[in-house]
C-alpha cells in the first residue's frame, strides 16, 4: 500500500460537495484524483484564481498553479490579484485547506515552513491559509524518514500558525481536535493502537468511536 496514496485518498473523503479548497504543494495535490463520486470542489490557488483544473494538452501561457507549474482551468474560472486572493483566504471564504506538515503538536500548532539553518524556503501563503481557512487538514507521513515522531507534545520548529489544525491524516491514523484535545478517531487497515502510540509523541485520547479507515479497494 502506497502511503501517500492512502493519505490523499482518506483526505479526499473529508471534502464536501461544493467546497472551496486550497491544496498545498506535494501530497495534497494528489487529492482530486481520489474524490468520491458526486463530490465536486472548486480549487483556489494563491497566485490569484479560483477554478484550477488538471493540465489538458499543451501548457497555456500564464496558466500556472501556485507552484509555477502549467495547469488547466474549469469553465467559470475567475482570476484576480494577490490582495483579492488573500482576502478570500484570510477572510474565511476558503472552506478547507490541506497542507503538508513537518510537525504538528497536541495544541493544534503546525510547523511546516522552515528548518532553521537547513531549509528556509519561506512561508509563502501557508500562514494566511492556516489562519483563515475554515478547516485546516494536515496530511503527512506519520514519522520522519529516520522514524522520529512528527506528532509531538510541542513543536520545536518555527510555527506556521498557533492552534489552528483541525485534523491530521497520516498513513497510520486520523486524529481530530475536539475542544482543544487531540483525539484518535481512525486507524489505517492492519495498524494497531500500540503501533500508533509508539510512533506518536503527543498525548492523545482514543475516541470511543475509533474505527478502521474506510478506503476503496484500489488503495488498500
Amino acid at each position: 500500500m502506497d502511503a501517500k496514496k492512502l493519505i490523499a485518498c482518506r483526505a479526499a473523503q473529508e471534502l464536501k460537495d461544493g467546497d472551496v479548497v486550497n491544496l498545498g504543494i506535494g501530497l495534497p495535490t494528489m487529492i482530486p484524483d481520489f474524490l468520491p463520486e458526486g463530490i465536486h470542489i472548486t480549487l483556489q490557488s494563491e497566485n490569484g484564481f479560483l477554478g484550477l483544473g488538471p493540465l489538458e494538452g499543451e501548457p497555456i501561457p500564464n496558466l500556472v498553479n501556485a507552484g509555477g507549474k502549467p495547469c488547466g482551468m474549469v469553465p467559470g474560472t475567475a482570476f484576480f490579484d494577490s490582495a483579492m486572493s488573500f482576502a478570500i483566504i484570510r477572510g474565511g471564504h476558503v472552506d478547507v485547506t490541506v497542507l503538508g506538515g513537518l510537525q504538528v503538536d497536541q495544541e493544534g500548532n503546525l510547523a511546516n515552513w522552515m528548518v532553521p539553518g537547513k531549509m528556509v524556503p519561506g512561508m509563502g501563503g501557508a500562514m494566511d491559509l492556516v489562519t483563515g481557512a475554515k478547516n485546516v487538514i494536515v496530511t503527512m507521513e506519520h514519522a520522519t524518514k529516520d522514524g522520529g515522531a512528527k506528532i509531538l507534545k510541542r513543536c520545536d520548529l518555527p510555527l506556521t500558525a498557533a492552534g489552528k489544525v483541525r485534523s491530521i491524516i497520516t498513513e497510520l491514523a486520523v486524529f481530530r481536535f475536539f475542544d482543544g484535545q487531540l483525539v484518535l478517531t481512525e486507524t489505517a487497515p492492519g495498524i494497531t493502537l500500540e503501533e500508533i502510540r509508539a510512533k506518536t509523541e503527543a498525548q492523545f485520547f482514543v475516541s470511543p468511536d475509533c474505527h478502521e479507515m474506510c478506503l476503496p479497494a484500489s488503495v488498500q
Binding site: N47, G48, N62, F79, A83, F86, P121, M123, A162, G163
Partner: protein, 221 residues
Amino acid sequence: MSTPCKRIKYAELRPRFKDGMSILFGGFMGAGTPDGIVREILESGVKDLTIIGNDTATAVTGIGVLVANKRVKRVIASHIGTNPETGRQMIAGELDVELVPQGTLAERIRCGGSGLGGVLTPTGVGTVVEEGKTKLSFDDIEYLVERPLRADLAILKACRADDKGNLVYQRAARNFNPLMALAGDYVVAEVDEIVKAGEIDPELVMTPGILVDALILAGEK
C-alpha cells in the same frame, strides 16, 4: 482628457537606475514578471538593490537572475525556496532576506500605495512573524500591525495597454502587479500590445492608466 502615457524604450529607463534603490516587481514564480525590464536592470550594472515581490523565482528566470548575478542586497518576499541562490547568499550573510506571509505582503504594498498607515492581520500571531511588532486586540482576536511598503520603482508585466496606460493582465500573470502599480514612485509596465485609447473596454481595465508612468512594448529595442 488626461495626457497619453509616455511610451519609452528599455534603454530610457537607465537614468532611473541607482545603486541601492528599491524595486517592487510583479510576478509569481516568474509569471507576470517583466523579463525585458529585468534584463535591462541586469545589463545596466546597477547593484545593492532592494527587491520586493512574492518570490525570487529561479536562478535563471524572473527576478531571480538579479539575485543570481549578485545585484541584490535585500529581498522582501514570501518565498525563496525555488531559487537556491537566494538561500545560499542568505546563509552566507551576503543577502538580507525578510520573509513576509504572502497575504501580509500584498496588504503592506496595498497600504503603501493607498494612503494607509498599516493593516491589522491575525496572520503570524504566535509565530516568529510577530517578533518586534505591535499587537492589538479587538473582540478577543489578536492582530499584528503590519506597516506599509513602497519603493522607488515598480516594474509590471501586462498583456495589453492602451495609450493612456490602462492595463489588462493575462490569466494568473495578474497576481501582485496591480498592487505594485500603486506603490512605486515611478511605475513602468512592459506590455505585449499597445492599443489606442478606447480600444480596451473600460469595464475590463484592471489597473487605471493614471498609476502608470511609462509603457514599454515587450521586445522593442
